[in-house]
Symmetry: C2
Subunit: 306 residues, 2 copies
């Protein structure tokens, strides 16, 4: 049994059982991949892939188990490589972050700024997606760290660290009647056409449930995944905006007025998620600490143990 063989079967499975494209992705020859898979199957005494004649048509039952274990082994091998780099190339490497628009646009910039000053030679990738995409990217190892308010806390392979707590605000064009009609209530809010986040984003579930519980039906005329889109349409007069307070910038958003809405909705928590079995490079710990100062290396390790 060889580590290479694990890579081969994993790649073939990933490439929809196409050995040729798998070979290409692995930068090697197709017959070599074929051969090694056969050798592995022979050694284990089982078929990993189903074949109809010469085509691979599926994954056998034991094959699936083996593939899962191979995945595990390769992850661990990757971790070992990282240990080496962590101790020799302290200031080199890459950091891949998966997050949602609101976090990327309004919450991460200061942390990123501090991080790139400290580690100018780390290649930084920020992937944007919806919370479940963020979760998937961390689970699959495409991203080292995921940051989102939804989804990320409920995956068995991840550990979720509470990052920060936030609440919402209402934005409207200057002079809009909602601004003077104090105090603000859910009922009043529901009388105006509203623009807010897509389902599955930024605590939208929480918002929905609050309205439901109070027996109030909001008039949502537009949803977006993007705070800036929401603000743009609010500015155009489409309705009032309900968004994360951190997404309102009095400097930039001069065309809008803001009302705190934290009395109407419960606080939401944004989580940072990492794979339980990932080896975190030192700079990753540092990045986490840049985002949430209470999450120092020790605190993260304690969470990872449990």
């Amino acid at each position: 049994m060889k580590l290479h063989q694990m890579r081969y079967i994993r790649e073939v499975a990933r490439q929809n059982l196409n050995v040729s494209t798998a070979a290409e992705a692995l930068h090697t020859s197709q017959p070599g991949v074929s051969k090694q898979i056969q050798l592995l199957e022979q050694e284990l005494g089982i078929q990993i892939f189903q074949r109809s004649g010469k085509r691979l048509t599926g994954i056998t039952e034991p094959g699936q188990i083996v593939l899962d274990m191979a995945e595990q082994i390769l992850r661990e091998a990757e971790n070992i490589k990282r240990v080496g780099e962590d101790f020799t190339k302290v200031n080199e490497g890459s950091l891949s972050i998966a997050t949602t628009h609101t976090q990327a646009r309004y919450r991460l910039p200061p942390a990123i700024k501090g991080f790139v000053e400290r580690y100018p030679n780390i290649r930084l990738h920020i992937h944007q997606g919806n919370p479940s995409q963020v979760t998937d990217m961390v689970v699959s190892g495409e991203a080292d760290i995921g940051i989102a308010t939804e989804a990320i806390a409920n995956h068995p392979d991840l550990v979720a660290l509470p990052c920060y707590i936030w609440n919402r605000c209402i934005v409207a064009p200057h002079g809009h009647p909602i601004l003077s009609d104090k105090p603000l209530t859910l009922k009043k809010l529901a009388t105006y056409p509203m623009v807010t986040y897509d389902l599955g984003f930024a605590g939208s579930n929480t918002v929905r449930m609050v309205f439901e519980k109070q027996g109030v039906t909001p008039n949502i005329v537009l949803t977006a995944i993007d705070s800036d889109v929401i603000k743009t349409y609010v500015e155009m007069g489409l309705g009032v905006g309900l968004l994360a307070k951190m997404a309102f910038d009095p400097e930039r958003d001069k065309g809008l007025s803001m009302l705190d809405a934290s009395n109407l909705f419960p606080d939401s928590t944004t989580y940072l998620g990492v794979r339980k079995d990932a080896y975190l490079r030192t700079y990753m710990y540092d990045f986490i600490e840049f985002i949430a100062p209470h999450l120092n290396r020790k605190a993260v390790n304690i969470a990872l143990q449990a």
Copy 2:
């Protein structure tokens, strides 16, 4: 990075950093081991072992991390091998059970009997030890399954399955005053010299706490790890015996009388422990079901997932 190199560094660490004996244990030449370790260290860019001149004198900090990961990889590789065997050699293999004397002597025999009838070609090993040794053997992979009342439920790498519930009895030579002095109470029990299990065995903690809570101090004149030893000394008149009810056999223990003591002590639960990340061969699932019929394959898998 090669799987072989993982084996080499693990074995060197196990053999107290002696490369020569490690090579012997691996059935290969000593220079080969040396070389591969150097190659690995070179590839990772770190020292795994500390050296003073040519002697290995310790494990470096990154080395320890790498060793832990290597261990994990090799465990997973072992699991893959088992998958193959499980699907090809259904009726071959070995089953290694670690347990305490009382279980081995009084509880396992019927399960073992059923098992060897079903799987006559599986090599069976029963290791006897105290509960913490049992736990260690399962954790290290020396044993596939551990069975004990103590210790085994509290290890993070193991999953503990409740196996069966039992309670205690009092044994005494025929005609002993305790037998007629009904009803039996803790206070009365404490007036007689007593023979029972060693600390750390068979719920001895529970027993101690029950006495303590009632403010009664038992007069324990002898402890043993072994129910048969306890009974022998009781028969000799050393005192009354407090032991697991399952360990009293009216057929064999004709020289003794038995009093149920389950009203004096809370029930104890015996657990069966397996490594969370172990691949269990089909016959291992079957063995577990022989011991505890409610623990069928499905139930065990559900426990392993969580």
